[in-house]
């Protein structure tokens, strides 16, 4: 692993055997993964799918996207939708506005192909 004390996994500043990373090296995001009943802290440069990063001077957290998003910019703005819904201006919708059509591969509302 790249940095961090020999005991701790990569990216950790402090850690415990039972709960993994407790604090991260500067600018990394701390994310809590579930392992059965346990929560294991991991330090990441980007939050996993379904989560977005919130930076603050004290700590950088991973928070859950809205339920309909696969990936998102923040809790109000999706960047990719789950299958079955279509992205338009940061929102995942079941149908698209009139002037657009739904693309299942992109999971987005896209301009119709010119005939």
């Amino acid at each position: 692993h790249k940095r961090g004390s020999p005991v701790c996994p990569g990216g950790c500043l402090t850690c415990s055997v039972y709960n993994g990373c407790l604090t991260c090296l500067p600018k990394l995001f701390i994310h809590l993964e579930r392992d059965g009943m346990r929560q294991i802290g991991v330090c990441l440069a980007s939050c996993p799918k379904g989560f977005f990063g919130t930076r603050s001077p004290e700590k950088n957290d991973c928070s859950k996207c809205g339920s309909e998003c696969d990936t998102c910019f923040d809790k109000n703005f999706c960047t990719r939708c789950r299958a079955g819904s279509y992205l338009h201006k940061g929102k995942c919708q079941e149908s698209c506005p009139d002037e657009l059509v739904s693309s299942d591969t992109k999971r987005e509302c896209v301009p119709p192909c010119p005939v």
Partner: protein
């Protein structure tokens, strides 16, 4: 363009090869993250569409290093030690949509290297050391939608580089050292929906600094040094989420949000508020939470007409003495109401606020509770009236509070308390009512589990006192406590304070407690 069909065979087929340093899947994804690499591994399949090189030790990207990966759509280089990206490093990546360069050592935006990424939608440059954003930084990026520049060392909004980004929808410039926002800073960003500027050093903003942001829904100005209310928000007709908590704003002017009718949340706590315009929060029909703390000079209760979907209202630390009689005419979905630490003398009827579950009016100057004050509040669970000057409570005041579990009447001037209707009550606080000397009975409070009373002897009615054991003699004493034949034995799972003890026995001294 968007309607181009993929060339046959160009789709995601089983990759012919994979670098031994990576894990490749059959969809064309290659994960080479956290392998201690100092260069981009060779031997990856030409059809690789996703390449994760994050958390390695790559300090430079030489020219044409990805030229064999023409179908790459997502490239992750976060968490390396990147200092330099050759202008030709990313050439050939015509289908690249997502480029992650966060958590590196870049001091400037690698504009030359980005120039030909015409399909790029998401660009992460956060958590670098960028002080300079060259004017042509994003010129070639016509499909750019999401841009992260937070946690860098910018001292001003990169107005020039952003001016051609008509498709940009989400931008964060948070955690930089920006001190002001000039007029028309985001003039051409007509598609922008989200703008984060929190944790900067913004002191003043131009009245027209948000001109052009016709579609902006989220604006985060928290943790800055704003001295005055950001009037510039009046050019944001679609605004839904607004935050400017933790600034230095003293005044919320009249009509502060009258041009933002779609507002859902406004975070403005941790400002040294001294005045809030009475009309500031009118006609915000989508607002569901309002928190105003410590506006010390406010004397008038803000008008909430047309703001009928409030679910939570907190208004504390003001000089407000009266609550409008018609407050509850408009607030049928209000669930929590916190009016503590004001100077309220009289309570209106909260009858229309039928969804109320939690009411706190502690630390005011209320003197009495009328019959209709809480009438009809069948969902009310918590009621805190502590630290007022209540002398009188109408005997039917709690009649309809069938769901009330916590009632705090401590630190008032009560001599007695009506219990009719309090069938669900399990916590009652009466301490600090010196005139309440009568003994209380548990009979009308079947669910009571915890009570605090002005005098220890009053606890005897609720528990088996330590100094008396269950013996015929104590039964005699139980009757003395004003308990009558039908008095049910109270379950012992009971907490009563101050609990009678050796020096405050339940048995009265020399025949009468009055001698105590």
């Amino acid at each position: 363009g968007l309607c181009s069909l993929r060339v046959a065979g160009q789709g995601r087929s089983t990759p012919a090869t994979c670098s031994p340093l990576c894990r490749c899947d059959e969809d064309g994804g290659a994960d080479c993250s956290g392998k201690g690499l100092s260069t981009v591994p060779a031997g990856l399949s030409a059809f690789t569409y996703y390449l994760d090189l994050s958390m390695n030790n790559i300090t430079e990207l030489p020219a044409n290093v990805f030229k064999n990966l023409p179908y790459l759509e997502e490239l992750r280089l976060a968490g390396n030690d990147l200092v330099f990206i050759h202008p030709e490093a990313l050439s050939g990546l015509y289908q690249l949509k997502v480029l992650m360069l966060q958590n590196n050592q870049l001091k400037t935006v690698p504009s030359a290297a980005l120039k030909n990424l015409h399909a790029l939608q998401s660009l992460r440059l956060d958590a670098n050391h960028i002080t300079v954003v060259p004017g042509d930084s994003f010129e070639g990026l016509q499909q750019l939608r999401h841009l992260w520049l937070d946690d860098n060392s910018l001292t001003e909004v990169p107005v020039g580089p952003l001016q051609h980004q008509g498709n940009l929808q989400a931008l964060t410039l948070a955690l930089n050292r920006i001190t002001h926002i000039p007029d028309n800073a985001f003039a051409n960003l007509s598609s922008l929906v989200v703008l984060h500027l929190h944790n900067n050093r913004i002191q003043e903003i131009g009245k027209n600094c948000f001109n052009g942001l016709d579609n902006l829904e989220t604006l985060d100005l928290n943790f800055n040094n704003l001295k005055s209310f950001p009037e510039a928000i009046q050019t944001l007709p679609k605004l839904k989420e607004l935050g400017f908590h933790s600034n230095n704003i003293a005044i919320i002017p009249e009509g502060a949000f009258h041009k933002n009718p779609l507002l859902r949340t406004v975070h403005l706590y941790d400002n040294p508020l001294s005045f809030v315009g009475r009309s500031a929060f009118q006609n915000l029909s989508d607002l569901h939470s309002l928190m105003l703390r410590g506006a010390t000079l406010v004397q008038d209760f803000p008008s909430l007409t047309g703001t009928g979907n409030l679910e939570s209202l907190t208004l504390t630390g003001t000089k407000i003495r009266a609550i409008p009689e018609d407050l509850c005419e408009d607030l049928s979905v209000l669930r929590t109401l916190d009016l503590s630490y004001n100077e309220i003398e009289e309570l209106p009827s909260f009858q229309g606020c039928v969804s109320l579950q939690d009411v706190t009016v502690q630390h005011n100057r209320v003197q009495q509770i009328d019959r209709d004050t809480f009438q009809g509040l069948t969902s009310l669970r918590v009621l805190d009236l502590s630290r007022n000057q209540i002398k009188f409570i109408h005997r039917d005041a709690f009649l309809s509070l069938s769901a009330l579990t916590n009632l705090d009447l401590s630190m008032n001037f009560l001599a007695s308390v009506p219990t009719a209707g309090l069938n669900a009550l399990n916590q009652l606080k009466l301490v600090g009512n010196p005139d309440m000397k009568n003994s209380l009975t548990a009979k009308s409070l079947p669910k009571l589990r915890s009570i605090s009373v002005p005098y220890a002897y009053q606890c005897c009615a609720f528990m088996t006192c330590d100094s008396t054991h269950s013996s015929p003699e104590s039964e005699e004493k139980r009757k003395d406590l004003g308990g009558d034949e039908e008095m049910e034995r109270v379950p012992l799972v009971m907490h009563c304070s101050p609990s009678p003890g050796a020096f405050k026995p339940c048995a009265h001294l020399l025949g009468s407690w009055m001698i105590r």
